[in-house]
């Protein structure tokens, strides 16, 4: 549908351009052959139509650019969703989350936190990327036990937050949800050098990650667990049969 809209806008733009050319030709002809007040009126009318057509062309061009950007954003969302759910290998899902953060969001430093099954055991640091100059202390090791107020609040209430704030250096704390359960967070700490800030259009991608990253990870881990159990059972059966 997006592509149809873009095609329609392009066709309208071409027609408007054609109208501008016709009006310009008529105007030139009217100026060259004009005599008397009626010709002046005709020229004035043509000039008004020309100005209107030029204004329409500019507006259509602007709408075309907006549509192309919108199409691009939708494409990013489609590809991100597709790739997250394209595999049941937990390591590949994790790699996809990292690829989305780096290639589509422009994140340079980020951390993926996943809730541990045991109560009070903090959050597993499942992924840590971009800390080449030294790991930030609260993310050092295998477990995050709190320390960034913005991140802690997001882990508690599941609200996506953007920073940095006076208390937190994180640029974004993205809750990861499986249905209504908050199972972790993606914390963006730094962007690539050539991307100074998160843009309004990045919000859609962050919302997508919030909704889909955790469910993809959850499904993959569940499958891996069941698959391991199945293989174990199959081995036991074979052993029992003396194979």
């Amino acid at each position: 549908m997006g592509l149809d809209l873009v095609s329609e806008l392009r066709a309208t733009l071409e027609r408007a351009g054609e109208l501008v050319r016709v009006v310009e030709t008529n105007l030139r002809g009217a100026s060259e052959g004009s005599e008397g007040a009626s010709s002046d009126e005709r020229v004035a009318e043509l000039e008004r139509r020309l100005a209107t057509a030029e204004s329409d062309v500019k507006e259509l061009a602007s709408r075309l650019v907006d549509s192309e950007h919108q199409g691009g954003r939708l494409m990013n969302l489609y590809v991100a969703t597709y790739q997250l759910h394209a595999t049941l290998d937990p390591a590949e899902v994790q790699a996809t989350i990292a690829e989305i953060a780096i290639n589509l969001l422009g994140a340079h430093q980020f951390v993926l936190l996943l809730r541990r099954d045991e109560e009070g055991e903090g959050y597993e640091i499942a992924l840590l990327e971009g800390m080449y100059d030294g790991v930030i202390p609260i993310y050092d090791g295998e477990t995050y036990r709190g320390g960034d107020p913005m991140v802690d609040q997001t882990l508690k209430d599941g609200v996506l937050r953007l920073g940095p704030t006076g208390e937190s250096q994180a640029l974004a704390a993205v809750p990861l949800r499986v249905q209504n359960d908050i199972v972790g967070a993606l914390v963006v700490l730094k962007l690539l050098d050539h991307k100074p800030i998160l843009r309004a259009e990045d919000r859609d991608l962050l919302d997508l990650l919030s909704a889909h990253a955790a469910s993809a990870m959850f499904a993959a881990r569940l499958f891996a667990t069941k698959d391991r159990k199945l293989r174990t059972l199959e081995s036991l059966v074979k052993l029992a049969r003396g194979e």
Partner: protein, 126 residues
């Protein structure tokens, strides 16, 4: 003149899917690193556009470009670097290494299509 075939060189499967959707009008070939990319070029003589990432295992994008240009067998090949390395010196290094254009990730799809159109127009004029 449109590219006959496009070689995508990137270790990210997400980016492979992205190009598959964005460039569905072109036949695409994929490689996960520079070494695979050189193999693909040998296998597909009709590749005339390469979309090249920089940071890849085994052989990175700049190493691939150096080997490609040193070889001299494909002077007609158009190479566009598409990378997260976005500082000015990175762009300069890529263009000095022989790339025809440099696009920073994350990018808008129009940037890729604009570059392809400009390079096509340049190729037609030549």
């Amino acid at each position: 003149m449109q590219p006959r075939k496009v070689l995508v060189v990137d270790d990210s499967k997400l980016m492979h899917k992205m190009y598959e959707v964005m460039l569905r009008q072109y036949p695409l070939v994929y490689a996960l690193d520079g070494r695979q990319a050189l193999d693909r070029l040998r296998e597909h003589a009709d590749i005339d556009l390469v979309l090249l990432d920089i940071n890849m295992p085994n052989m990175n994008g700049l190493e691939f470009l150096a080997e490609l240009r040193a070889d001299g067998a494909r002077p007609d090949l158009t190479v566009v670097i598409i990378s997260t390395e976005g500082r000015e010196e990175d762009t300069a290094r890529g263009l000095e290494a022989g790339a025809d254009a440099y696009i920073k990730k994350p990018f808008h799809s129009e940037e890729i299509l604009d570059v392809i159109q400009r390079l096509e127009a340049k190729g037609s004029a030549a």
